[in-house]
Amino acid sequence: MERDLSVGTAWLVVLAVIAKSDEPIHGYEIGRRLSDEAPTGLSFKQGTLYPMLRAMESEGLVRSSLTPSTEGPARKCYVLTADGRRVLAAWVNTWRCASRWLNRIIGGSHATE
């Protein structure tokens, strides 16, 4: 059975992928990396990425620019803003705390992390 990621988790992983990229990254590449990394049983529909990216841009977390492509129409590429980096760092911290707490509650191999 497929499970859902929460809105916050999806935003976190998208911001993390953008942050890891050395150069501005476009939506297709973000979606491809997320799909490649998705564990079994957890799918990520790449089309749902775009409204999320727009929302992030509205919130000032990412900045976009159109980049000419040799493989078709110009692509919208994204980089993290200073606010985006700050929010990502805060979320990563929150996530790790929540993860440790969850692991302690449910038990498991990472319970003592």
Binding site: S6, V7, G8, T48, Y50, A55, P73, R75, W91, T94
Partner: protein
Amino acid sequence: MQPSDPEDRHAVIKAYLARLGAELADCDAALRHDALIDAEVHLRAAVQAGASPQRAIDDFGSPEEVARAFREVDGTPFGTPRRSPTTTGPVPGTEAAPSTTAQTATSHTAGAASADASGPARPRGFAALPIVGVWARPTAWGALLYFGIVGFALAMAYFVWSITIGSIAFGLLPTLLGLPLFVALLGSARALCLFEGRVVESLLGVRMPRRTQPMEVANDIGFWQRIWCWLRDTRSWLSLAYLIGNFPVSVAAFAATVTLVAFGTSLLITPVVSLLGYPMMTFEIGNAPLSMAAGIAVLTATLWFVTALGWVYGHVVQAIQVARPEPIRRHKTPPFNPTPSLQPNEGTVHAAHH
């Protein structure tokens, strides 16, 4: 079997886009435009990277899933999410989940978002009152600013630019210098219309698309073919027509707005000015309440007038910006027959033909 011919792949993607457009039919035109552009660029990138069209579509999500995601996250007039996690943090399970595996998203959430996606948020508080609520609506004051000052000044500038450059271009046509000048005029008209869209969005509250439309295989065409494409593009001519035709309309709107504001204000302040000892024509102090009430009524009617005019104006500009260009083709190809590659049992998209 997957379509191997570029035209076949193009047809599969177009069929998917048609279904996505149908799913978003009740949404704002700019939102629908943005969703279609995003989908088209993504699917083309996936196919260019080696994926089959059907695989690219499977990874991208069904039209229903993608439409639901756009409604949910991008449903407000300016792309601001109805709910974003920036204040709550990424704690799992604290919110609904529209962004992944959207088939499990709850229907009531999508329904609520649908109302948001089809237009601006409903006014609340004083702004929700039937007639006088217009005084508390930002779009009314934005429209007053637009039709009273900004729109008129911009329309005049657009008109002078278009007429001046257009006249010089036509005059220079026999020397062939006019042609590039005319093409430059068309390009500037497109750019100015995009700028006008941003002004209209900020003041009149009508959402404009965030992306311009892609032009298929545009990177592979030559300079002259690109110019020819610009000349054939509906948006170029609509933009130029807007810049020229907008001027007389803006003059009329400016005159009506300023007259109404001046008239309403004069009715409102006449009793005050009279009490201060300044002589006023045909005014008796006993008529003060009536005069002030009439002034408020005229100003209220003015705010409604500019709000309604702003809605029409905004949607005209939006319609220009969401106009799609004709596809560019490097080679003449025979008309595509979708039947062989769009069989339902081959897993390709077919619903768009209905």
